[in-house]
């Protein structure tokens, strides 16, 4: 097989005064190829696990070796070395050497200095001594060089980002080394984990027993806690700043320039620190010397391809706890959590209690699916790639873009000057984009090339809502069309009658013909047999029918599979390994419809039995059309412009995003875009028509999914209420500024004593709050409760949205503001409320997927998934369809919402919500609820009457002009004396109500419609 032609960038260099343009392999690509070369080199070795371990063994050591090797080469070839040829590696090597020595000295200094420092100062030396100076230097150079042009800084990087990244890299390397040293990961070599290959997965109970065995084994050795301590952000920053500051100081390059025949040379810093204005803020940046930037411009050193970014050669280690599983070495994360300690704590707790067994089972199953490279498709892709042409979604090797001409009146006409600069910038960014797209494909091609004869595995982990993703980012089945086309199951299964049919249906699906009945799809494949054969046989020289498909590479793979099957002596006996997909139709809405029991809605998203697949988008479009006709009849003549033109396309995005809580503004923007594409509607009209259509579309979806709508609102109200609550003990602090009554009493005594002693008028004798904050401010600070729930599989989920509090950290380079995850900070109620409905639905679809994965494994079937697209062998689709439906029904017959509400009441029921945070609609609702005690209603009315609780009628009038409203009379506040018996007898007034228990405010669940989820069992098109 011919090698993958790597991305080349054009370099112009002078040789004997002649300009020579030649291609050069960018450093990052070259580097990854070297890493991959290891995979190839070791192929002779039969012990896969040993090979995997070798591959994972420290990437930095390897990077260092490589640079040493290169530098030696450079030295040997000194005479012939053309300095302009590969200066980047040479510089990096020089800086590395200088930095290594300098760090060794300075760290020694720091150690001595800190030995005599005050004991309370946070020392830096212990962290800098974690790794040897040469490793530190290597990490610093590599990390800093991989950052440029990230984060919107041209030819440079944001200081904060650079410091944090270097700090994190040091920490990660240290952790990995500790793990290795303690032999924790190597135990995979001889421990029980070894026996858990994918063949023995069938018994989950066995797995669980094994998992426990491994865990207790690890506990016995007690080697884990040390490793798991994480560095705080300020520590990372300071370590990063120390290293980067040194690099900035020592890294020099020689600049030379010829002007008017005179050559100037100057030694200059390779990096310099300065500030840039961005959106009105001054941002500290580290810029590259122009010379370095030019080298890097078309040749970015992207982060090293860590073995973490490659598929595994052996099945991933089973997940033992949230930090242990997946790759053989290093620390892992079963959940990708960004800066949310709370989520980590809940996850660990759940893991200790044994609640995560099912989730881990699911992840293990996903990770244990063996894959191979689809060599036939790879060969075609390789040919296309090496030709450098733009083809089937592959970016071209070089894009022919013409630079705009500099206008003649550039100097005097401010308008043309602006336009010209704009065009130049646009051109530059297009070039950059093409190059980075090309690099991304290069990664995939190279990985596929290296793994072409291997069986590989993708370890999976979860995002914070529980959705599973493969960890390797470049090549995996969750990637783009090309990645999916390049992968096949390793295991083959006999097609059988049904499998052949599913293969044909799959072809229609990937071609884009998925809105017709199953029989019609099968017929579609039969009708195009000639095209299919031609595509499979002459993919590049034939009629290229496969290019017309929605997903061309997957279509090509299917064509090839189908042809091989049909050409085999007995197609039914053919053993296929092509994954066939079954996709949910608008999966979010399916879950909503099932939760709400909407009969009409359920039918539209194929939960109900039908002989043809329904299309919810067309249905909504038709509903909107009906509304328009009605309004035209009522005299809105201007709507005639759009009557009969509201197609599926116009409303599709809005319908799809309702699940994710699209707002009126968002929906309007989506529809406006569609109307503009129609082309003949004046842009001033577009806005008002889009406004009208968006409102109608949202109302129609609301009508269609009545139950879903009610649930969405309920979820959002619940989240809003929770994020406004304060747990009991802290209410005292809110009111008084002191955490406990004892503290308050002590302070009051002190104040009284002070007054008695001084007798001056400025001592009031009343304890002042410790901080200068008002009660309202204190309440805002104390609202720190985020929405937490458990999925039906027992996975706890914490919404991470908080108001960012930024902490100032002084470092060697500059003062940096960072958000500190360990700092307690108030939640962001708006974000908590608006994100909860979509997050909750995602946690349900994730649960459905994991349940399906586990069941599939029990049934001995191969399984892979991309969220709501489920994959298996063609012959197993029927079985999988059954399982998908069964798990869906099982999931939705478990009273999910009751359990959610119950969980909320249990967790937050006695938390206190400040009365001032109640919205008028909350008050209306609580007053109308029969299960709320009368005195609480009374208290609310009194407390909010003072602030001028507006009647709902007035409130709503602003929104719906002209609607007639009859204000509902409020119950009159009763006299305090008559309400209270003995306590009020002495004339003491009852203090106004300040807090209401959350359990009284949390609304009851909306009523469920009468759709029976078990009907889904017979629905042919539920997933198809």
């Amino acid at each position: 097989m011919e090698p993958v032609q790597p991305v080349q960038k054009e370099v112009i260099r002078l040789e004997d005064g002649v300009q020579i343009t030649e291609g050069q392999i960018p450093y990052n690509i070259q580097h990854m190829r070297d890493t991959l070369q290891q995979v190839l080199n070791n192929r002779s070795q039969s012990d896969l696990e040993k090979r995997q371990l070798d591959m994972e063994r420290t990437v930095y050591d390897f990077a260092k070796q490589r640079r040493e090797f290169e530098a030696r080469n450079l030295k040997d070839l000194k005479i012939n070395t053309n300095l302009t040829k590969e200066p980047l590696q040479q510089w990096m090597w020089q800086w590395y050497k200088l930095l290594k020595d300098r760090l060794a000295e300075d760290i020694k200094d720091i150690k001595e200095r800190e030995a005599n420092a005050k004991p309370d100062a946070v020392p830096l030396a212990p962290f800098l001594s974690c790794l040897t100076p040469d490793v530190l230097a290597s990490i610093t150079v590599m990390e800093v060089m991989s950052l440029p042009s990230s984060g919107g800084v041209e030819g440079g990087m944001k200081t904060t980002r650079a410091l944090l990244d270097v700090g994190k890299a040091v920490e990660a390397e240290y952790q990995a080394r500790i793990l290795r040293r303690n032999g924790l990961s190597d135990k995979a070599n001889n421990g029980p984990a070894r026996t858990m290959s994918h063949q023995s997965l069938s018994s989950l109970l066995d797995r669980r027993a094994q998992r426990e065995a491994i865990k207790s084994d690890a506990d016995k050795r007690k080697k884990r806690p040390e490793v798991l301590l994480e560095w705080s952000a300020p520590i990372r920053l300071k370590v990063g700043a120390f290293l980067v500051d040194h690099l900035v100081k020592i890294a020099k390059v020689e600049a030379s320039k010829t002007e008017n025949g005179i050559t100037h040379t100057q030694e200059q810093e390779a990096f310099y620190h300065c500030y840039e204005h961005m959106r009105g803020m001054k941002i500290g940046v580290i810029r590259l010397n122009r010379i370095v930037a030019e080298q890097l411009e078309h040749d970015p050193v992207t982060p090293l391809v860590h073995p973490r970014q490659l598929p595994m050669l052996v099945p991933p280690r089973p997940w033992l706890d949230p930090q242990d599983g997946g790759y053989l070495t290093g620390r892992a994360a079963a959940m990708r959590i960004r800066e949310c300690q709370e989520q980590k704590a809940h996850l660990d707790e759940a893991s200790r209690e044994g609640h995560l067994q099912h989730v881990f089972d699911g992840l293990d199953v996903l990770g244990s699916t063996p894959w191979v490279v689809n060599k036939e498709v790879f060969e075609v892709a390789l040919k296309v790639w090496n030709s450098g042409e733009e083809f089937a979604g592959l970016p071209p090797a070089s894009k022919n873009l013409k630079a705009p001409e500099r206008p003649v009146d550039y100097d005097t006409n401010l308008k043309t000057r602006t336009d010209y600069q704009h065009a130049i910038r646009e051109l530059e960014s297009q070039k950059r984009n093409n190059h980075s797209e090309r690099c991304a494909v290069n990664y995939k091609m190279d990985i596929a090339h290296a793994f072409r004869d291997e069986v590989m595995f993708f370890p999976h982990n979860l995002d914070f809502r529980g959705r599973a993703y493969p960890i390797p980012p470049h090549l995996s089945h969750i990637g783009d069309d090309l990645s999916r086309g390049l992968l096949k199951f390793a295991e083959r299964r006999r097609l059988g009658e049904r499998g052949l049919r599913w293969l044909k249906i799959h072809l229609a699906n990937v071609f884009g013909n998925d809105k017709i009945s199953m029989d019609a799809r099968e017929q579609f494949a039969m009708d195009h047999l000639e095209d299919i054969y031609d595509s499979a046989k002459n993919p590049l020289d034939g009629k290229k029918w496969w290019l017309k498909a929605d997903d061309p590479w997957q279509c090509l793979a299917t064509c090839m599979e189908l042809r091989t099957a049909l050409d085999s002596p007995n197609p039914i006996e053919y053993e296929s390994n092509l994954p066939v997909h079954q996709d949910g139709t608008c999966n979010g809405l399916q879950h909503y419809a099932a939760l709400g029991g909407d009969a009409v809605g359920a039918a539209q998203v194929n939960l109900d039995v039908a002989d043809r697949p329904s299309d919810v988008y067309s249905f909504v479009a038709r509903m909107v059309e009906e509304e328009i006709k009605k309004d035209i009849a009522q005299g809105h003549a201007d709507l005639a412009l759009i009557s009969g033109r509201v197609s599926r396309k116009v409303v599709k995005q809005t319908v799809m995003t309702t699940v994710y809580g699209v707002t009126m503004v968002g929906a309007r923007a989506q529809i406006e875009r569609q109307l503009r594409d129609l082309g003949d509607i004046h842009h001033e009209k577009c806005w008002s028509l889009a406004n009208y259509l968006a409102r109608k579309t949202l109302t129609c979806i609301g009508d269609l999914f009545k139950g879903a709508n009610g649930i969405q609102q309920w979820l959002s109200i619940a989240a809003r209420t929770i994020s406004r609550s304060v747990p009991e003990p802290r209410t005292h602090y809110c009111e008084t500024g002191y955490s406990t009554p004892e503290q308050l009493e002590a302070a009051a005594k002190k104040a009284a004593a002070k007054k008695a002693a001084s007798k001056s008028s400025d001592s009031t004798g009343v304890a002042k709050p410790l901080t200068k904050t008002s009660e309202t401010e204190r309440i805002r600070q104390e609202q720190m409760v985020s929405v937490i729930w458990s999925t039906p599989l027992g996975l706890p989920i914490v919404q991470p949205y908080r108001k960012t509090t930024r902490k100032q950290v002084k470092t060697n380079l500059q003062t940096v503001f960072i958000s500190d995850p360990n700092q307690r900070s108030a939640v962001s109620p708006r974000k908590q409320a608006s994100a909860f409905p979509p997050n909750f639905i995602h946690s349900l679809d994730a649960t459905h997927m994991l349940l399906t994965a586990i069941t599939m494994n029990k049934a001995g079937l191969a399984f892979a998934s991309v969220h709501d697209s489920y994959w298996t062998h063609p012959s197993c689709v029927d079985e999988m369809s059954g399982i998908i439906r069964e798990t869906f029904i099982k999931l939705h017959t478990e009273n999910i919402l009751e359990k959610l509400r119950g969980g909320f009441i249990e967790r937050y029921g006695n938390f206190k919500v400040p009365v001032e945070d109640l919205l008028d609609e909350d008050i209306d609702r609580v007053l109308g609820q029969s299960d709320v005690p009368e005195e609480i209603k009374q208290g609310i009315v009194e407390a909010t009457g003072q602030r001028g609780y507006k009647l709902r009628a007035q409130h709503v009038e602003d929104e719906y002009e002209g609607d007639l409203f009859v204000p509902r009379p409020l119950p009159l506040p009763k006299q305090a004396a008559s309400a209270e018996g003995s306590g009020a007898a002495e004339g003491a007034t009852v203090p106004p109500l300040r807090w209401v228990d959350l359990k009284y405010i949390l609304p009851p669940l909306p009523e469920r419609g009468d759709f029976d989820v078990s009907r889904t069992r017979q629905s042919q098109y539920f997933f198809s």
Binding site: E259, Y272, C274, Y275, T412, L414, R417, T418
Partner: protein
């Protein structure tokens, strides 16, 4: 007056007596030539009316640029009553406005004069400056354009009479070491002569002269963009020989922008923000062969540099072989039009 789109963050003169007095200070009648006047951000048109009181022999044509839809009925009425008025319903912020006016032939009979030929006899700009950041940017850009003889200065030294918010005036006129000293001060002082046409306190208190009303008594310092800031009547006249030369106006942009990031820091320390190796420039600006006023003690804080000293810094920088040659990219948002105004 009806509130409408495009009326926020703006103040307008509403006192007709003050408007007449203000127009007198413009000296439009002085040399007896008939003039074309371009008025920016007129709002309801009180200043416009005062201008229209001038005879045809003085005011030949009045071009009015106003994007606020709420003001259009009033201005249209003015245009209907007086054929000298031409209304452009667009913000003065857009360069296209001037381009289109040129295309339509409004400036066809204006002579194109050299800066040495004195103040342009037939053309003036007058108007209000809004309070928002876009307007501040616009002011900075039209002052900078003097160096390039770009924009309206292609016709010669065109004086500009503007009512600008006091914070802007303080920035424009800030002397060395003032806390208001900034990039705008340097560009304004290098390119133009300017003065107040009415005494500093003449248009105070704000509420007697301007609309919308501001707070009567405020103890807090107003935000720079808040309605209620005093307005100052300022004349800007381009210098015959602007200190910033067209050839190195980009360098000035870059220098002032980068160094004013930390304006209390000494030149010695902040010079490294410019480019790698930039500290070599210090040798040039301390050269004893330079005239005394152009030499810079390296401990001088950035805000303490005089325009002369900035000139010697710019000279040294322009000559430096290793100055960054992508200066434009480094100051990339300078000429970007921001599509906010057109709502």
């Amino acid at each position: 007056m009806k509130k409408g789109v495009g009326t926020s963050e703006r103040s307008y003169l509403f006192n007709p007596v003050a408007a007449r007095e203000l127009v007198e200070t413009y000296g439009l009648e002085e040399n007896g030539y008939p003039k074309i006047v371009l008025e920016t951000y007129p709002g309801p048109g009180v200043l416009t009316r005062a201008l229209l009181a001038l005879p045809r022999t003085t005011l030949k044509k009045l071009i009015v640029c106003e994007y606020g839809r709420g003001f259009h009925p009033d201005l249209e009425a003015l245009a209907a009553a007086d054929d000298r008025v031409h209304l452009v319903k667009e913000g003065a912020y857009y360069w296209t406005v001037y381009h289109e006016l040129e295309e339509q032939g409004h400036f066809a009979d204006l002579p194109r004069l050299d800066f040495n030929d004195g103040i342009h006899p037939n053309f003036r700009m007058v108007g209000h400056l809004p309070l928002n950041v876009l307007a501040a940017q616009w002011l900075s850009q039209i002052l900078r354009a003097i160096a390039d003889r770009a924009w309206m200065y292609a016709y010669g030294r065109v004086p500009i009479h503007l009512l600008i918010p006091e914070p802007q005036w303080q920035r424009v006129s800030a002397p060395p070491m003032s806390k208001d000293r900034c990039k705008l001060s340097i560009i304004a002082q290098a390119n133009a002569d300017f003065n107040l046409t009415l005494p500093q306190d003449y248009l105070k208190p704000y509420n007697s002269f301007f609309y919308p009303r501001g707070h009567d008594v405020t103890t807090k310092k107003l935000k720079d963009t808040a309605v209620g800031n005093n307005m100052m009547a300022v004349n800007f006249v381009p210098k015959i020989d602007p200190i910033i030369k067209s050839a190195d106006s980009d360098e000035w942009d870059f220098l002032t922008r980068q160094l004013f990031v930390n304006k209390t820091l000494s030149l010695e320390k902040s010079i490294s923000y410019l480019a790698p190796g930039a500290s070599i420039l210090l040798e040039h600006v301390t050269d004893p062969k330079l005239p005394l006023e152009a030499q810079i003690p390296i401990k001088t804080p950035i805000r303490g540099l005089t325009v002369e000293q900035w000139r010697s810094l710019a000279n040294a920088f322009s000559k430096w072989p290793f100055k960054p040659d992508n200066i434009k990219a480094l100051t990339n948002d300078e000429w970007k039009e921001i599509k906010v105004e057109r709502k």
